[in-house]
């Protein structure tokens, strides 16, 4: 995916994204990080077509994103948002079934294929046992997995996640990121996500895009991007870095 010189303004007074260009490599886990208000979620919303840019364009397989038909695009790219309202009286199975929408038309449904995709999505997210449970009865971690399962049922090549771990306990955070890793490694999904936690980004990404004030400040492999100097400049935080045999490279913020 090629992102070319994107400018986005929500209110026409300032640019929330100011000339962002980058390339997202197929098969990678790409993580967008940066301080609050740096435009990381906005960038994700442009990639997923929720907002269209004021100028610039995004090419997916050499075709402008905006030239895809809605359903055609939904077969290419799925997104899980950070906060989702939980509908009343809806089972996991039904919600995940909504993910098949891009593959259906009013008159034509392939039930076998739909059932297979739903099964696969539920198995990946470890929700098979609970498929007939109502969403209201689930824990926060399970709910987040349900939305991921719905996106998986779309069977797209690209999966976007907007701060998937933000409202979860650390147990579920790790569980979720391990799931993302599995999806990437075993099922070949290209992952684009926004994370808040820098250490999680280091640990789970192939490529990090660090943003500041609507622009890309630095990007590349985690180790190259996240350095003492960069963290000071972007976040205004002093941090020490360490290398652990088991954990690998990690950061500890120590002061401002």
């Amino acid at each position: 995916m090629d992102i070319q010189d994107i400018i986005v303004s929500h209110d026409n007074t300032r640019n929330h994204l100011n000339g962002v260009s980058t390339t997202i490599v197929k098969g990678n886990i790409t993580t967008i990080i940066g301080p609050n208000g740096c435009g990381k979620s906005t960038l994700l919303s442009v990639i997923s077509r929720l907002h269209s840019p004021k100028s610039g364009n995004v090419l997916l397989e050499n075709k402008d994103l905006l030239h895809y038909k809605p359903k055609e695009f939904a077969k290419k790219l799925a997104i899980v948002y950070q906060q989702n309202d939980i509908p009343k009286d809806l089972t996991i199975e039904k919600l995940v079934g909504f993910g098949r929408l891009p593959h259906q038309t009013m008159l034509k449904k392939n039930h076998d294929e739909d059932a297979k995709a739903i099964d696969w999505a539920l198995t990946c997210t470890n929700l098979h046992q609970k498929r007939t449970t109502n969403l209201e009865a689930l824990s926060g971690g399970e709910r987040q997995r349900v939305w991921i399962a719905m996106a998986l049922a779309q069977q797209s090549e690209i999966l976007c996640l907007d701060e998937p771990t933000t409202y979860l306990d650390i147990y579920y955070q790790i569980e979720l990121l391990e799931l993302v890793k599995t999806l990437n490694e075993q099922h070949g999904l290209t992952i684009i996500m926004v994370l808040h936690d820098i250490n999680q980004a280091i640990r789970y990404s192939d490529h990090i895009i660090l943003m500041k004030e609507g622009q890309i400040f630095a990007e590349g492999e985690p180790r190259e991007v996240i350095t003492k100097q960069v963290i000071k400049e972007v976040y205004g935080v002093d941090a020490i870095f360490n290398e652990d045999k088991q954990l690998g490279y990690y950061m500890l913020p120590v002061g401002i």
């Binding site: 997923s48 077509r49 929720l50 038909k69 809605p70 359903k71 055609e72 695009f73 939904a74 077969k75 799925a78 997104i79 948002y81 989702n84 309202d85 509908p87 009343k88 009286d89 809806l90 909504f98 993910g99 929408l101 891009p102 996106a151 779309q154």
Partner: protein
């Protein structure tokens, strides 16, 4: 699952009982077996009177109830708001105003009333949408805007009645939301448009189910939300407008019935829409039958009874929100 079946069964039984009771009760009385006998074979003068006077009224009440309730379900789905009702938010009064306007000034266009009333309802509906959309459709704000729109159209209608009172006497018969003196012509209007609306609503059930998700989520599934909203809203307005044209403005039906229906049969529109139609038909027929028998020969309009039940119910829902 069994709760659904039982609910359907009970509503259908009650509906049949009420239809027979309503047909046989009033100034002309008939026993049940006498009625059934006359219905299938005999030509009696009593039966003739019932056929000409009471049957149209019953059919109009049934269709108006079904149409208004399903209209409520559709509006609640489109606006993602459990409090939406064609009567409360001004769609019905928009349709009523246009209808009266036509009757008063362009009586030649009378045959087009349903379509023009539909446009009046659509105008009110788009005003409510446009004026409350900015806040992301907060339930309370939408209701407030709707009540204001409703007040405006009701005011315009009353102004028209005052101005044209001397000109046209048929105006008051249009605006009185009473089910008396309905003819077979009214029946054919409401059955034709009502059936189109109800079938259309049912055909859109899967879209209604999808709209429980947030807009950004359904959009990400490749679903064209705006187009779906427009179409569902159009059917909601059609159903409301046709019942206004034939039965007058009856508020709160679209609020009460879907709310109770959801408790009984759940939120899946595949089941909810047919159930709401049946329950709505039952409610209005009961209201109308009570209204014309309780202090006979004086009649209390069904809309008055609905307002008496519906007002407190809206307050109850608002407090729960």
């Amino acid at each position: 699952m069994t709760k659904r079946i039982v609910s359907f069964f009970i509503v259908i039984v009650l509906l049949l009982v009420t239809i027979v009771y309503s047909a046989t009760t009033g100034s002309i009385k008939m026993g049940f077996f006498e009625f059934i006998g006359a219905l299938f074979e005999g030509e009696s003068s009593q039966m003739e009177a019932i056929r000409d006077l009471r049957f149209p009224r019953i059919i109009v009440a049934l269709f108006a109830g079904a149409a208004l309730s399903v209209s409520g379900v559709l509006l609640q789905s489109v606006m993602r708001n459990p409090l939406a009702d064609a009567g409360v938010i001004g769609i019905s009064s928009g349709a009523a105003f246009v209808q009266l306007f036509i009757v008063s000034f362009f009586p030649a266009l009378f045959f087009m009333t349903p379509i023009l009333a539909f446009m009046g309802g659509a105008l009110a509906c788009s005003l409510v949408f446009a004026l409350s959309w900015k806040s992301g459709l907060s339930p309370l704000k939408l209701i407030l805007v709707g009540i204001a729109i409703n007040a405006m159209f009701t005011g315009l209608t009353e102004a028209l009645i005052s101005l044209g009172g001397s000109l046209n006497t048929s105006a008051s018969s249009v605006i009185g939301s009473n089910l008396t003196m309905r003819t077979w012509k009214d029946v054919s209007t409401i059955v034709t448009y009502g059936t189109i609306g109800l079938i259309g609503a049912f055909a859109l059930y899967s879209w209604c189910n999808l709209l429980v998700l947030q807009d950004k989520t359904v959009k990400s599934l490749g679903f064209q939300v705006a187009r779906a909203r427009l179409l569902i809203a159009a059917f909601a307005v059609l159903l409301a407008a046709v019942s206004v044209v034939v039965a007058g403005v009856i508020s709160f039906v679209g609020l009460l019935v879907p709310h109770i229906a959801r408790r009984l049969v759940g939120h899946d529109h595949l089941v909810l829409i047919p159930f709401t139609a049946l329950a709505g038909a039952l409610l209005i027929l009961v209201a109308d039958t009570i209204g014309r028998t309780i202090v006979a020969p004086i009649e209390i309009p069904a809309s008055t009874i609905m307002a008496i039940i519906g007002g407190p119910f809206l307050i109850f829902l608002l407090r729960k929100e």
